[in-house]
């Protein structure tokens, strides 16, 4: 039996190609039992394909996946029984009520009679839908559907819960409810693998994050370590006119700037100390009144780590 410190998920050199296009390029990571792992990346980074391979939906071109020490593709049913999956799509039967949806999926996972009722009651309470059990899903708000989507994945009390963008398109209240639920589950010992492109969620929840872009794992560590090692603050400026060479040279003394867009007249300055840099930029602007239109100061975080690694914003 796997020990507490042993990884419940071990992904080794995982690859997937569709025709000539390789969309996942040798990804490797591990998730310890009880961990909360975030897979970050913009749309098209390969997160969903990686999750697809982990859940058996997509057949890998190469590499290996171990779930609780078992090779996924040698023992797929055993591996699947250990995991709960919450897909990005609202994978529910809209014309059935919440209770019928849960009953169906519970039976699929082998729950019967008293245990089935007990688990349905528990997950409905957990996601705050106990009073809506008899309502058909198509009458639910998007947030309620998302919560029910998660409830389905929790029915059989999986050791590992895999969630693909579970908060996409939900209102703040539902998002907070979902995040609280996930935190609570993780505290109770459930290992969580979670994909998102919402940086603040990952920073708040995840013990470790993997940053993916264009099918590659760009960085893998705790959020704090990533920010410490790779994070730089950003001072983002927009001008009313293209800044002259003298100004650009002066700004270059404050920190390294990545880009000046001639058309939008924007400039992004990367620095370890964005607050101080911002003040220095404002000092320079004193002599050029009316040139600076807006300035945003972003402290080092996972978003700036991603920008540092890829040169792009995560949500692009």
């Amino acid at each position: 039996m796997a020990g507490l410190r042993e990884p419940i998920v071990s992904v080794e050199h995982l690859r997937k190609s569709f025709g000539d296009v390789e969309v996942v390029k040798g990804v490797t990571f591990q998730i310890p039992r009880g961990g909360f792992f975030g897979l970050l990346g913009p749309n098209g980074a390969g997160k969903t394909t990686t999750i697809g391979m982990l859940t058996g939906l997509v057949e890998p071109t190469g590499g290996r996946i171990l779930i609780d020490g078992n090779d996924f593709f040698q023992k797929p049913l055993l591996s699947k029984a250990k995991m709960g999956f919450v897909p990005q799509a609202l994978a529910l039967y809209p014309t059935l009520c919440a209770l019928d949806n849960l009953t169906f999926f519970a039976r699929l996972y082998g729950l019967r009679k008293g245990r089935l009722k007990e688990r349905i009651t528990a997950v409905l309470d957990l996601v705050g839908l106990a009073d809506r059990a008899d309502q058909t899903v198509d009458t639910f708000s998007h947030g309620m559907k998302r919560r029910l989507n998660i409830a389905v994945g929790l029915l059989h009390e999986p050791d590992l819960l895999i969630l693909d963008e579970p908060t996409v398109g939900v209102d703040t209240q539902s998002r907070n409810a979902i995040l609280e639920t996930l935190e609570g589950l993780n505290r109770s010992g459930v290992t969580i693998l979670y994909t998102t492109h919402y940086i603040e969620e990952a920073e708040k929840l995840c013990h470790r994050v993997g940053i993916m872009d264009q099918g590659k794992m760009m960085a893998l560590d705790t959020p704090a370590a990533l920010v410490r090692d790779l994070g730089t603050g950003i001072v983002s400026m927009e001008f009313n006119a293209t800044p002259d060479e003298a100004l650009l040279s002066a700004i270059g003394q404050i920190g390294s700037f990545r880009a000046v867009d001639e058309q939008s007249k924007q400039l992004r300055l990367e620095t370890k100390h964005p607050d101080r840099a911002g003040r220095e930029v404002l000092d320079l602007m004193d002599k050029r009144a009316g040139l600076l239109k807006t300035m945003d100061i972003i402290e080092p975080n996972l978003e700036t780590v991603f920008i540092h690694l890829t040169g792009r914003y995560l949500r692009n």
């Binding site: 697809g52 939906l57 699947k80 897909p87 039967y93 699929l108």
Partner: protein
């Protein structure tokens, strides 16, 4: 506003254009209907005409000239084609019945031994000594067609018997006439007398000499004719059963589009369990559908069902074939439009081709052959075997076997093409 309308129109056209398969089906569907329905219905509108004669097997064991003469007359009748030989050998009763049982021909006409002698010496004989003309028909033969063919055959036989027996009857009449009739003294009164005698004979020329027997091939239940219900209920039941193709295929597509299929695939269940679980309800729906249709036939129209186990066996095989086809469409159709068009195309075309709308035997030769590649034709044959021909389990094994063969073929094709991702 016009620009917006044009923009929306162009966008829709592009979407339609991009779904080439659905577009092709959109055009193929009406063409198929026109082709299949026209060819199939040709039989109904033209059956028994010069262009589409009905093929009648002829068994002649007369040994005299009269049957030969009748056959010669029938050959000249428009709308009938007489088949006297099979494999170069003159037909006998057993061969003719076997050909009808195999569904290759609908009718056989048999002239009994001594037909000529019995007709010519029929004066005063008992019914059992009279000449017999037997019309053997498949009980499932379309009633209107059968009536029309019977009428043609009977009137031809009656005319020939009238001609053959006229001298004999006339002579007898003249002999019996009081005082005899001499040609020299043949006045207008006597002419009227002769005309009267011949006229009387012409009223019922074959009544005194021939017994017309209508029957079914040996082994079939008595020559009972099917009612309209017995004809229609099985045909339209089969037609309806195959509409499960649309329901089933759409269900798979919807699950894939909603993402629930993906969720099912991540559950700890095998792909086989998933497919069986998905198919089983539709299989049960089909069986309920069949039971309901036959219940309506039985309770509202007094339809007799024949051998229960045989009927159930045909129904089980039919539902399996329909479900197999549904899964095949689910595997082939990538979009809702494709699934809808393909389902409707198959359901209606195969039904028309399989003889659900018109009996297969009135179709042109190649269409008749083509009908055998539809599960519909075999299912209908199976139901007719049980309901109309009164056969039991052993009798419907060939049809059931073929239906199960179709089911296996459809399922194999579906599993080959089905995408689980």
């Amino acid at each position: 506003m016009l620009r917006q309308i044009i923009a929306i129109t162009l966008k829709e056209l592009k979407i339609v254009w991009l779904d080439r398969e659905a577009l092709a089906l959109l055009f193929a569907m009406p063409m198929f209907f026109i082709l299949v329905m026209s060819l199939a219905l040709q039989g109904v509108f033209e059956a028994g005409t010069k262009e589409r004669p009905v093929e009648v097997l002829v068994v002649n064991t007369d040994g005299g000239p009269l049957a030969e003469q009748v056959i010669g007359d029938l050959k000249g009748v428009e709308g009938l084609t007489l088949i006297e030989k099979a494999g170069g050998i003159p037909l006998n009763l057993e061969t003719a019945e076997a050909l009808i049982r195999r569904g290759e021909y609908p009718l056989a006409l048999s002239f009994g031994a001594g037909f000529s002698k019995r007709v010519l010496h029929a004066q005063g004989v008992s019914e059992s000594e009279k000449a017999t003309v037997t019309l053997i028909s498949d009980p499932a033969t379309h009633l209107q067609l059968l009536a029309s063919v019977k009428g043609m055959i009977r009137s031809t036989i009656e005319r020939r018997i009238l001609t053959a027996t006229l001298p004999q009857r006339l002579s007898r009449a003249l002999e019996n006439a009081a005082g005899g009739i001499s040609l020299g003294t043949f006045d207008s009164n006597k002419e009227e007398q002769v005309r009267g005698m011949v006229g009387d004979t012409a009223k019922n020329p074959a009544d005194d000499s021939v017994v017309f027997v209508n029957t079914s091939p040996t082994g079939y239940s008595s020559g009972r004719r099917p009612t309209a219900t017995e004809q229609n209920v099985p045909a339209y039941t089969i037609f309806g059963v195959f509409f499960i193709v649309l329901t089933l295929a759409s269900s798979f597509l919807r699950e894939k589009q909603d993402g629930t299929f993906q969720r099912l695939l991540t559950a700890p269940l095998s792909k086989a369990a998933l497919l069986i679980g998905k198919l089983l309800p539709y299989y049960v729906v089909n069986l309920i559908q069949i039971a309901l249709m036959f219940a309506v036939g039985t309770f509202l129209f007094d339809m007799t069902l024949g051998n229960g186990p045989a009927l159930i066996l045909v129904s089980l095989a039919l539902a399996a074939a329909a479900n197999g086809l549904g899964l095949l469409v689910a595997a082939l159709g990538k979009t809702e439009a494709q699934v809808n068009s393909l389902s409707v195309l198959l359901s209606i075309t195969l039904a028309a081709l399989g003889g659900m709308m018109v009996p297969a035997f009135v179709m042109p030769g190649f269409m008749k052959t083509l009908s055998l590649v539809t599960p519909h034709a075999w299912a209908l044959a199976g139901y007719h075997d049980v309901i109309i021909r009164g056969l039991g389990l052993a009798g419907i094994l060939p049809e059931t076997g073929v239906l199960l063969g179709f089911a296996v073929l459809f399922f194999a094709g579906a599993l080959w093409r089905f995408r689980f991702d």
